[in-house]
């Protein structure tokens, strides 16, 4: 097992003492198969117990370890040391306020996520005794890729539009709305459209495509947003040119 000395340049911010963030460099003996999260854990356990960051699963599932690694939004548990040079810069996810060190304030995202009603709103209310809602494989693949989202917010950190217009509902929330809209069991699209098809919703997106490039789960939120735009545009034409046609 080969070992390499890495200079880990970590953004530090203590809201009680600091007026602005600063960088602190730690020299970490890293094993080659380590990920950046292992290096941070080494710092926390051996060099500086005051360092704050979020993590849980260490396997790209919980979505809590998102951070900027050399300026790129990454999951720290999926960013392998061997892919980097001897100096690695670690910062909290871009576009989110910094709570402390690598920990960001994520209330904005949580609020947006719940505003799009990311849950199944059944088309027809049937009693439990009537049995399960069935779905064919063809109906399942319509939305399966969007179910893989782990709410890691890397897409928000990559999206310049979210940085410029913080009101933008953003990639993951709209992709999740699309996931439920595409579900054959769901009947909640009208209830979601109010937020999703608003100016701060999908129309704030200019298809930079950065979200899909950084998504660790290949959700392709950019694709979802363009599909929502197409569907919303068709709605508009139906409503204004063919008002007699029911949606």
């Amino acid at each position: 097992m080969s070992e390499r000395q890495i200079e880990l340049e970590v953004l530090r911010y203590d809201p009680e003492k600091d007026s602005a963030p600063r960088f602190q460099t730690y020299s970490v003996p890293c094993l080659n198969e380590w990920v950046v999260l292992d290096a941070l854990n080494y710092v926390k356990e051996n060099l500086d117990t005051t360092l704050s960051y979020r993590w849980s699963c260490h396997m790209a599932v919980c979505g809590s370890c998102g951070m900027m690694i050399n300026g790129e939004p990454k999951l720290a548990c999926k960013a392998f040391i061997h892919e980097y040079s001897d100096k690695i810069r670690v910062e909290p996810l871009a576009h989110f306020p910094i709570e402390r060190d690598l920990v960001t304030v994520i209330e904005d995202f949580i609020g947006k996520l719940s505003s799009v009603k990311p849950y199944l709103i059944p088309k027809d209310d049937k009693p439990i005794s009537a049995g399960e809602f069935k779905q064919t494989p063809a109906e399942l693949i319509k939305f399966k890729q969007y179910t893989l989202c782990i709410n890691c917010m890397l897409c928000y950190a990559a999206c310049p539009q979210y940085g410029l217009v913080p009101e933008f509902v953003g990639p993951a929330a709209i992709a999740l709305a699309h996931r439920y809209n595409q579900d054959s069991r769901d009947g909640g699209r009208d209830a979601r459209q109010e937020v999703v098809a608003s100016n701060e919703g999908v129309w704030e997106c200019s298809f930079v495509g950065a979200c899909s490039e950084v998504c660790p789960k290949h959700v392709d939120p950019a694709g979802a947003l363009q599909q929502v735009k197409v569907a919303s545009t068709i709605d508009w034409y139906k409503e204004h040119l063919m008002p007699w046609v029911k949606k």
Binding site: P15, E99, A138, G163, L164, S206, D220
Partner: protein, 129 residues
Amino acid sequence: MSCKPYIRETSKTTWYLEHPRYKRYMAREVTCIFILIFTFELVCALGAVANGPEAYAAFLAKLHSPLSILFNLVALVVTVYHSVTWFNVTPQAMPVQIGEEFVPGQYIVGAHYGVWAVVSLVVLILGVW
């Protein structure tokens, strides 16, 4: 939540310099300016045609200026770039599902190139005619 979260401002004027993928995006967007000017040129051409043979001849003469040739060459290159970048993302915006599979993206992109070629050919034939 802490009492004093630190907010990093995004620069409204230089944000697109911060990452190569933002620069690529801006390059795609800037192509629109050339397409806009070219469309204006096309409208002028239609106006000249409507105003009779002399007006059209005068318009054509203007097109022969070196500046105009340069602009049209640049506009052509830029328009090709514009079209290619947009064609390449069509599978994301318009996925086609057949049964239990999505049609591979390259077929959707290919179909766009195909239609482009056919339309260009028709325009060429009509033009030569």
